[in-house]
């Protein structure tokens, strides 16, 4: 049994099913949570009718979406129009493969895990843009173009922010970065200013990649009807909706693994899976909080923020992190030999 489970493909399959199911469930009920949360912030009650406290609202929403008519516009590019929604979910979920939920709970412990996360984040712009183009609708196209512009702009600060933990810990494997933090303290405070600023930068840039408020100009409803999702009906729209929340959840998990010590316990408590879940959900909740507090940026303000402030700031952070490591701020870690490349089995 053990030998069978340690086959990387079987392992990936089993953990993949577990992680995908868990993420999908959390995402569905996070929509309920967000509606309640937003309701309370605005002196409303949120969903109350379906089930106790409206808890069955996600199921009702899914049923409603499934029943709706599936419309493809007459002049749309049918193939691309239908391919785009599942692809958004695919890429949003993809990054979760290398997120370590616990010491052993990781679907695929790639030794280039951070790069894999960045690659998946970079790919997310494609289905959104394909959807915008294939809809043959000017609002959808504008939304898609904005999404691509925003995606490639914010990928640069995102990469730089993710480089900081890589430089500090000397590894590109996410689980190695977490183990380093178990030993030396969370990066957010063990590398005082650099770690905290890098965390902020990573958080901001990933919010922009996930098209969350205040960076959701690709679907700015006051300007673009519904952006790329204008022409989508039923469950295809539901997939876009789901992908946005999934992406947000996954970036919360990545941020807590890279900067908040992953599965490490708070205040010397025993490490474990629950800490990772707790940190992820706290960050996830913070994103809701931001969403219902802030307004949306204008498109030009968005680009100004990225290119004039975040990119130079990211460059400075990477330099600072390199200097930090060079002058040996983490005692005894400057000369650690690189970990031996992990055997990847049949690969």
């Amino acid at each position: 049994m053990d030998a069978w489970l340690s086959n990387p493909f079987v392992h990936g399959l089993v953990y993949g099913v577990v992680v995908v199911t868990a993420l999908m469930t959390v995402t569905a009920w996070s929509i309920w949570f967000e509606r309640k949360f937003a309701g309370r912030m605005q002196s409303r009650t949120g969903p109350t009718l379906v089930g106790p406290y409206g808890l069955l609202q996600p199921l009702a929403d899914a049923l409603k979406l499934l029943q709706k008519e599936d419309i493809v516009p007459k002049d749309a590019d049918r193939v691309l129009f239908n391919v785009a929604p599942p692809l958004t979910v695919l890429f949003a979920l993809g990054a979760a493969a290398v997120v370590p939920w616990g010491p052993e709970q990781i679907a695929a412990d790639l030794d280039v895990g951070v790069l894999f996360i960045l690659a998946m984040g970079g790919m997310v712009v494609f289905p959104v843009w394909i959807a915008g183009w294939a809809s043959n609708n000017k609002y959808a196209l504008l939304g898609g173009m904005r999404s691509v512009a925003q995606g490639i702009s914010y990928e640069i600060p995102l990469v730089m922010a993710a480089l900081v933990p890589v430089v500090l810990c000397g590894s590109m494997s996410v689980s190695d970065i977490v183990r380093f933090q178990l030993e030396h303290g969370w990066l957010i405070y063990s590398a005082p200013v650099v770690g905290f600023l890098a965390f902020l930068l990573f958080f901001l840039a990933s919010l922009a990649e996930a098209n969350r408020i205040p960076f959701d100009i690709p679907e700015a409803e006051s300007e673009l009807v519904a952006g790329v999702t204008t022409e989508y009906t039923g469950m295809k729209f539901g997939l876009f909706y789901l992908a946005e929340y999934l992406h947000t959840l996954v970036i919360s998990a990545v941020a807590s693994a890279l900067f908040l010590g992953g599965w490490g316990g708070i205040g010397g408590l025993a490490p474990g899976l629950h800490w990772m879940v707790l940190k992820t959900l706290l960050l996830f909740g913070a994103i809701f909080w931001i969403r219902w507090t802030l307004l949306r940026f204008r498109a030009d303000q968005l680009m100004t923020l990225c290119w004039k402030y975040l990119v130079p700031g990211g460059l400075a952070l990477v330099m600072a992190a390199a200097a930090w490591v060079h002058w040996g701020a983490f005692a005894g870690t400057t000369a650690t030999p690189a970990p031996a490349p992990a055997e990847q089995g049949a690969r």
């Binding site: 691309l80 894999f116 690659a119 183009w133 691509v148 490639i152 690969r347």
Partner: protein
């Protein structure tokens, strides 16, 4: 067939399908998407060679940046300008020349791979870890540092040159029209008598 071979077959199929659709697709957008599929296929071939770093970089750089740039260029030029079948389709002769040239080139490539005694050249197995972070980093920053830095300098020069070419020359701005103080106040035709008056009723100092 083990899992590695399955990965190879999937990657190779992705490459072929993507490359074919890049060439065949009428709509430039679909061609770009075909290119994207090819790039993902190449990345999975890198994975098969256990060069995970190269695979990730392939996706980030080529899919995340280069194809996005293609998409931008297509959108700037206009996706519809080149859509639809070509008007005349070219003469039969030109098609024969193009197809024949392609066949000759592919045959030459095959010949180069297969020695003249008919035995195909077998490449040695890829070294373990030839494409991981340490190997590529060592190559870039130790052995090939000078060519690498020269290439970056060249790219920067090219980027600056492109910006310089693309930006139109700064034209001298037309001088702002002379505005009289009272015209600024009333936006109307100015009586010469009023021009002498102070702007406010308070006595001038």
């Amino acid at each position: 067939m083990n899992a590695g071979n399955a990965l190879f077959i999937v990657g190779a199929l992705l490459c072929l399908v993507g490359a074919l659709s890049t060439v065949i697709a009428r709509s430039p957008i679909r061609a770009a998407m075909g290119l994207l599929i090819t790039i993902i296929g190449i990345a999975s071939l890198f994975l098969k060679l256990s060069a995970q770093f190269l695979a990730a970089i392939q996706i980030i750089v080529y899919a995340g940046a280069v194809v996005v740039l293609f998409v931008f260029v297509i959108m700037l030029i206009g996706a519809d300008t080149s859509a639809g079948p070509p008007k005349s389709g070219g003469s039969v002769g030109s098609r024969i020349v193009a197809g024949g040239g392609m066949a000759v080139l592919s045959g030459l490539g095959l010949l180069l791979l297969a020695r003249f005694d008919g035995q195909p050249v077998r490449f040695g197995p890829a070294a373990v870890g030839h494409g991981d972070v340490e190997a590529v980093g060592g190559l870039l920053f130790r052995e090939a540092i000078i060519p690498f830095e020269l290439a970056t300098a060249l790219l920067i020069v090219a980027v600056i040159g492109a910006i310089a070419v693309a930006r139109s020359k700064a034209r001298p701005r037309p001088a702002p029209p002379e505005s009289h103080e009272s015209k600024r106040l009333f936006h109307g035709p100015l009586h010469p008598r009023d021009a002498q008056r102070p702007l406010s009723k308070e006595p001038a100092e």
